[in-house]
């Protein structure tokens, strides 16, 4: 029995292919069901996000199932397999396990460490369980994947630094002003980047955004779009006194907010801190204004430098994440090896024999006056009892090897008799 992953993602396939392979209609696990019904496949999960589409299955014969599964993927999407085949990656065994762990931990994401992927993996798993296409192996694989993702998140800083200009601006505003709900935003001028940052910030606050522009009509149009309040350029200085975050992006050649102006503004606002984001080139705010106490001025280069630095930091943190993934992959592979009939039967026999031996040893004092023949009879009768008890389960386990449910029973026997530290595994599962 082997785990296999087939799929494509942002690094293997261009967007024209990615948008064709999306496994539509899986909201109730119907697609997982179709994959699970492919001959030779026992368990199946479908995972689809905007940057990846993949299936995770368990199968007896990797070679055979791979072709059947690729054909099925083509049928589901009405595409000839030749269209997408060259973009697919196929992994099995430890590589497949590592892949699933990396995906869940967001180490394989386009934006490294982005948090949504874990939710999407969980959703794919939920659908598959609803369609009953998962079994002991994939259930455990997914729980270990969630556990690994949690470890990577808490033990490394891979998701901690903001990696887009708009998001850096929001985080920074929080670090300066604290809770943003009751803060006010002023947007000076217009421009794509400025509007994006303004929208992001606007989502965080309750008060309407104030928009100012050289031409009042333009301010009105933009204000309406952002559900804000337009004002005239002449009111700018007066408005700055009541504003906490300012985003500037005008086409003006000369700075429209000077140091002297900011000094007056700061006095009027009793030195309440103010965050200025200057996205315009050339500058809208005199760079010297940053020297004033309580004024925090960032321009677009500053923000982009922060983004670049944070991306580098995430890459560095991802290395520790990879180490955690390797550890967990190894543990998981160790567990799959125990899922085999022969070692389970051996372990079961050992366990029973162990019980027999300890019970006899416990009563040794009482049997002190038995002669050798009687002692031999006692040994033999107890041994026969455990052999009789073990006989049916062992025959059953051996016979189930012929059809598909063997893993389920092996897992069950291991748990019921607490073999191979199965009890520990259970506890680990509960950490989730």
């Amino acid at each position: 029995m082997e785990i296999m992953v087939i799929g494509l993602n942002h690094s293997t396939a261009p967007v024209e292919i990615r948008e064709r392979i999306t496994f539509p209609g899986d909201h109730d696990g119907a697609v997982a069901r179709m994959i699970g019904d492919v001959e030779g496949v026992e368990e199946a999960i479908v995972l689809s996000t905007c940057n990846r589409a993949e299936i995770v299955v368990t199968t007896k014969d990797v070679e055979e199932s791979r072709e059947r599964l690729i054909r099925t993927i083509g049928e589901i999407h009405g595409q000839d397999p030749s269209v997408f085949r060259s973009y697919l990656y196929v992994r099995h065994g430890a590589d497949a396990v590592r892949h699933v762990f990396r995906v869940a931990a967001s180490l394989d994401s386009m934006v490294l460490g982005e948090p949504q992927i874990l939710g999407q993996v969980k959703e794919g798993y939920r659908r598959a369980t609803k369609a009953r296409t998962t079994g002991p192996i994939l259930n455990r694989l997914m729980h270990r994947a969630f556990f690994t993702a949690k470890r990577v998140r808490t033990e490394t800083g891979v998701g901690s630094a903001a990696v887009s200009v708009a998001y850096v601006a929001v985080e920074l505003a929080r670090k300066i002003l604290g809770e943003l709900r009751d803060k006010s935003i002023l947007l000076v001028g217009a421009g794509e980047m400025a509007e994006l940052a303004a929208r992001h910030l606007n989502n965080q606050v309750d008060r309407p955004i104030v928009v100012v522009n050289r031409t009042y009509e333009n301010a009105c149009i933009l204000a309406e779009e952002l559900q804000g309040l337009p004002i005239r350029m002449e009111q700018l200085e007066q408005r700055l006194v009541q504003t906490d975050v300012v985003i500037t992006s005008t086409g003006s050649c000369d700075p429209i907010i000077g140091k002297a102006m900011m000094k007056r503004v700061m006095r009027a606002r009793r030195h309440c801190p103010i965050f200025l984001i200057d996205i315009a080139i050339p500058r809208d705010v005199e760079p010297d204004a940053n020297e004033i106490d309580g004024v925090y001025l960032y321009n677009i280069d500053d923000l982009q430098a922060v983004v670049a630095e944070n991306i580098g930091e995430r890459r560095k943190e991802a290395l520790s994440g990879e180490r955690i993934v390797s550890e967990e992959t190894e543990k998981f592979m160790h567990w799959t090896k125990t899922l085999d009939a022969a070692p389970t039967i051996v372990a079961l026999k050992e366990k029973l024999e162990h019980i027999r031996a300890t019970e006899l040893a416990r009563l040794n004092g009482k049997f002190a006056d038995l002669d050798p023949a009687q002692r031999e009879a006692l040994e033999s009768v107890t041994r026969q009892i455990i052999n009789k008890i073990a006989h049916d389960p062992i025959v059953f386990l051996k016979r189930t090897g012929a059809h598909g449910k063997q893993n389920l029973y092996l897992d069950a026997v291991q748990r019921i008799f607490r073999l191979n530290g199965a009890a520990d595994n259970q506890n680990e599962g509960e950490e989730l």
């Binding site: 033990e155 800083g157 929080r174 030195h271 960032y298 930091e313």
Partner: protein, 283 residues
């Protein structure tokens, strides 16, 4: 023997400091929680240590410099555990646990003395009230100073656009300024009450409310500095960096009147055992 719990507590605080230090270096949250639990256990041991000393001396255990420092460290860790309940950011722990450790090492190595029966002048109901209020006020001022220090760091990082890990670890400027805003009137209130109860005690023991002993003088200077801070904050709107700097200066004065005066200037306001010839009167 009377230091068993004290040593256990100190060891645990040092462990907590180490845990928090590792956390600061590699931002591993699990290390921070190791630090936190060490601090909790240390706090329990510390509480036992103070109770132990109290039973040992048969009285409220704040009569010597050593006990006062120990109690002050205890108070700091206590306030930290309370604050952590509201703000789980581990950064306060990284500052409070080493600070408590240093205070305790200082008390242990420099001013430790075996407890002896209290001399009669210290057997007053004013002693616990006066000392507790003064210590609590100091604890609040200490937290304001810690907040102020963090404010200056965070402010510097944001101004110079170095938004690395330290920046993300530190609380927001707004949060840090809030500590100052709330701490100032509260600490000032406790300090004022501490001075008033001290005066009452002095009056009941010596018949005079105020004797211009060095410690009293320095405490009065401290009081004026904090009164000035309140004025600047409320009337002139001083906040942020200036308030942070003032909180640090103010706490420097507090520490000077608390330990420095005894060491450098002497006077009758010393702890028990420090000066046998003058009637000691607590803090």
């Amino acid at each position: 023997m009377d230091l068993v719990f004290f040593k256990i507590a100190l060891a645990l605080y040092l462990g907590a400091s180490a845990g928090y230090l590792v956390f600061l270096l590699i931002s591993s949250e699990s290390r921070a929680s190791v630090g936190f639990w060490c601090a909790v256990m240390g706090f329990v041991a510390h509480t036992l240590s103070i109770m132990h000393r109290a039973i040992f001396s048969g009285f409220f255990p704040l009569a010597t410099s050593f006990d006062a420092l120990s109690a002050f460290a205890w108070l700091l860790v206590g306030i930290f555990l309370l604050v952590r309940y509201h703000d789980p950011s581990p950064i306060f722990g990284s500052i409070v646990t080493p600070m408590a450790s240093v205070l305790m090492i200082f008390g242990w190595t420099l001013v430790y003395q075996v407890t002896e029966p209290l001399i009669p002048v210290l057997r007053s109901t004013w002693l616990p009230v006066h000392v507790t209020l003064a210590l609590a006020g100091n604890g609040v001022f200490a937290f304001m100073a810690i907040g102020g220090l963090m404010y200056l760091f965070q402010e510097r990082l944001i101004k110079t656009k170095r938004l690395g890990r330290l920046h993300r670890l530190l609380p927001s400027l707004a949060t840090l300024d809030t500590i100052n805003r709330h701490g100032l009137p509260f600490g000032f209130f406790l300090l004022t009450l501490g001075i008033i109860t001290g005066a009452f005690w002095a009056s009941s023991v010596w018949g005079s409310y105020w004797t211009w002993d060095p410690k009293e003088t320095w405490t009065l200077i401290t009081w004026f500095v904090y009164a000035g801070m309140i004025h600047q904050r409320m009337v002139l709107g001083w906040r942020g960096k200036r308030a942070a700097v003032l909180a640090i200066i103010g706490f420097g004065l507090v520490m000077f009147s608390f330990v420095g005066v005894n060491a450098l200037l002497g006077g009758h306001h010393a702890f028990q055992g420090a000066n046998r010839f003058m009637p000691p009167s607590g803090l």
